[in-house]
Symmetry: C2
Subunit: 377 residues, 2 copies
C-alpha cells in the first residue's frame, strides 16, 4: 500500500474520511426530508465513490453521458437516469443498454425530441421510459412549468406509446447564490415549479410518478420538499471552492485536492512555480465572479492544511504560479523551497477530477489506494 | 472504415489535410531559417500526429510530462526535451528512461534545482543533460538573460559533472500579441535574450551548444534567427481560435473541431442546446480577452464551414448553448433542428484535445480513422 509520500505529482487526492462524511451528511438530510436520493456520478466517474454513495442509501444514479451509464451498469447498477436531453442518434445505444437489462431512463424537453423517441421506440417495439425536463430558473434546458409545450411533449410520449416516467429539474442558477436567503428562494423555486408542472400533467390525465429536482446547493438548503419524490446532486461528494463560496460547505469539508511539487521561483515577483498547471487543475475559474476569488485554487500543505492567503494565481498547461492572493511575498523561495510538496483545493471538483486518469484515495491511517476513473463518451 | 456520419457525439475531429498543411508550413519556414525544429507534442499526445511531424523533418520532440516522454520513447523516438523544470523527485523516472536508451534532456532555472540534479547524478553515476531556462518576457519560469543566477546555475551543473546542453526560452507573452509589429517585437525579444544569455555562458568558458526558442506565434513570425539552433512550437499543428486572433493562421487552417448534435432549444432566447459542453470543449476561454471573443467556440456545419455570427455562447458540463454572438435568432429551432450535427472550432486546441480519449481523423475522401491519445502523468 502506498503512502502519500510515494505519489508522483501532480496527482488527484481524495480524502476518504471527508468524502464519507459528505456522503452521510447528504443522505441523512434526504432521509429526514423523506425523499429518495439519486446522486449524479458525473463528478467522480469512479466506482468506489459511487459504491460508497449507494452503501449510504442512494437509490439509483444520475449520469451525464451514456459511457457513464455503460460503465456503472457493467458494475451492476441498473437504475440509471441519463439527465441530458436525448439526441435521436443516441437511441440505439440506449436501446442496447435496456435490452441488456439496464433500467435506463432518458429525458427530453421538445416535441421533436419526444417524437423521435416515440418513432424509434415503435420501430424497435421498445417502451422507453422518458422524463420531461422542466426549466425552473432560465438557466439552461427544459420547459417552463407553465409552458405550453409541456402537455404537447407529454402527449407525444404518452400517446406515442412511451412510458412517461415523470419530470426532472435542475436549478443551475443556485450556483450563483451566496446567502441563505437566496438559497432558500431558489430551492423553493425549483421545488415549486417542478411540482406545479407535475400537477398540470396529472390534471390533464397524464401520469407523473417521479418528481425529481436537485443541485448540491438546493439539495442541502431544502427544508420542505412537498410533492418531490427524489433529489439529485453531484459535487457534494467532494465539494469544492465554488460550493464553499456558495456557502454550503466549510473549507475543511473539501475532499478533493491536487498534490503538487515546487519546481522553481521568481523571487522578485513572489512566485513559486508548481508542476500543477491547468492540465492538473482544469481551466475552471468558477470562483472568479464569486465573493472570494481563489485563482486556480487554494494552497494547502501536503497534510491538507490551508495556507491562508496563498493561491494558485495563474496557470499554464503544466506550470502553476503560486503567489499571495494580495501583495508580494519576497520570501517565497524560503517559504516553499524547490521540492516542497503542497496540495491545491480546486474551484470545481467535476472539472478537476476529469483531468486525471485516477484518484489517489487517502485513508485516515495514511495509506493511499488507487481508484481508477474514466472519461470520454 | 467509418465515415463522419457514423461518429457518436461529442467527438474530436482532426482534418488531416489541414493538419498536414500546418505541419509543412512550419517545417518549410524552419528549413528556410536554417534551424532545427523540435515540435511540442503536448498539443496532440497522439502518435500519428507526431509521426507526421517527424516525417516532415522535425528533429526530436518537446514534452510537457514524463508520461509523454515514456509513451513516445516506447514508440521509438529518442531525442526528447522535457521542457518543465525538473522536480527532484522525478529524477529516478528520468534516470530509468535514460538507462533504457532515451536521450532525455531536462531543464532547470535555479541553483537548488541544479544542485539536486548534480547530487542525484553523482549518486547514480549518471551524467544528465540539462538545459537552463531563460525568461525572455516575464511570463513564467526562467532566469532573465542578464540575471545573476545564470552563471551560478550553469556552474552548479557543469562543475557538478552534468552536461550543460544549452539554453531554452519560451515567449509565452506572444499569445497576448495581435499585430505583426508586436509579434516581430516579441520574436526578436525571445531570440535576442536567449542568444545574449548563451554569449554570457560562452564568455564565462561554459559550453552552450543548443540555443532553443519558440512558441507558435514567434516561430511563425521569425524572419532571422541568428544564434538560434532550434525552435519549438506545439499548437501550430492544429491551430485554434486564440492563434487566429493572434493573427498567425486563417480560420480555414484550424484542423481540430468538436462534432456535436443539437438536443433542444430555448427559442425565445435564441438558444440551441448542444451535446458538447465544457467537458468536450474544455473550460478554456482564451479568446475572452482577445479582439474577437468566440465564447466556447465558433459554430460550423458538419462539413466544417463556419456559420458566421454563431458561437457556443456558454457551456455546462455536457450542455453547450449555441447562440448568435450578438442579438437573438428567434428562428434558431428552424435553423438548427433537433438532431442537426455541427462542428465547433475550439479556443485552445491543447485544452480541447485533452478532454478526449481519441481523435477521429478525417481524410479528404471522407473516411475517418480513430487515433488514440493519452492523458495523465
Amino acid at each position: 500500500m502506498d503512502r502519500m509520500r510515494d505519489l508522483g505529482t501532480p496527482a488527484a487526492v481524495i480524502d476518504i474520511g471527508r468524502m464519507q462524511a459528505n456522503i452521510e451528511r447528504m443522505q441523512r438530510h434526504m432521509d429526514a426530508l423523506g425523499v429518495r436520493f439519486r446522486p449524479h456520478v458525473k463528478t467522480s466517474k469512479c466506482l468506489p465513490v459511487v459504491q460508497a454513495q449507494i452503501a449510504a442509501g442512494a437509490q439509483g444514479i444520475t449520469v451525464s453521458t451514456l459511457k457513464e451509464a455503460e460503465q456503472f451498469f457493467a458494475a451492476g447498477i441498473t437504475d440509471i437516469l441519463y439527465a441530458v436531453s436525448i439526441a435521436p442518434t443516441k437511441l440505439p445505444q440506449v436501446l442496447a443498454l435496456r435490452r441488456q437489462g439496464c433500467d435506463l431512463k432518458i429525458i427530453t424537453d421538445s416535441v421533436a425530441g419526444a417524437q423521435a423517441v416515440a418513432r424509434f421506440g415503435k420501430e424497435q417495439a421498445e417502451v422507453f421510459e422518458v422524463w420531461i425536463e422542466i426549466d425552473v430558473d432560465g438557466h439552461r434546458s427544459g420547459i417552463p412549468p407553465e409552458g405550453e409545450a409541456l402537455l404537447a411533449v407529454a402527449r407525444a410520449l404518452h400517446d406515442g406509446g412511451m412510458r412517461l416516467g415523470g419530470l426532472m429539474a435542475h436549478a443551475g442558477a443556485s450556483y450563483d447564490c451566496d446567502t441563505p436567503k437566496a438559497l432558500r428562494h431558489i430551492t423553493e423555486q425549483e421545488r415549486g415549479g417542478t411540482v406545479r408542472a407535475a400537477e398540470r400533467l396529472r390534471q390533464a390525465g397524464l401520469p407523473c410518478p417521479v418528481v425529481s429536482v436537485g443541485s448540491t446547493p438546493t439539495a442541502l438548503s431544502a427544508q420542505d420538499l412537498r410533492g418531490v419524490t427524489e433529489v439529485r446532486a453531484g459535487v457534494y461528494v467532494f465539494f469544492d471552492l465554488v460550493m464553499h463560496n456558495v456557502g454550503v460547505c466549510a473549507m475543511e469539508e473539501l475532499a478533493l485536492s491536487v498534490l503538487t511539487t515546487v519546481i522553481g521561483h521568481q523571487e522578485e515577483k513572489g512566485w513559486a512555480i508548481l508542476d500543477a498547471g491547468w492540465m492538473a487543475m482544469s481551466r475552471d475559474r468558477g470562483t472568479q465572479k464569486q465573493k472570494h476569488d481563489f485563482g486556480y485554487g487554494q494552497v494547502c500543505t501536503e497534510d491538507g492544511e490551508p495556507v491562508a492567503g496563498y493561491v494558485l494565481g495563474s496557470a499554464n498547461q503544466e506550470h502553476g504560479i503560486l503567489c499571495r492572493a494580495e501583495g508580494v511575498d519576497r520570501e517565497i523561495a524560503a517559504r516553499f523551497p524547490v521540492g516542497t510538496r503542497l496540495r491545491i483545493l480546486p474551484n470545481h471538483a467535476c472539472a478537476t477530477g476529469a483531468q486525471h486518469p485516477e484518484y489517489h484515495a487517502l485513508r485516515a491511517d495514511g495509506s493511499v489506494e488507487t481508484w481508477p476513473r474514466f472519461y470520454g463518451w
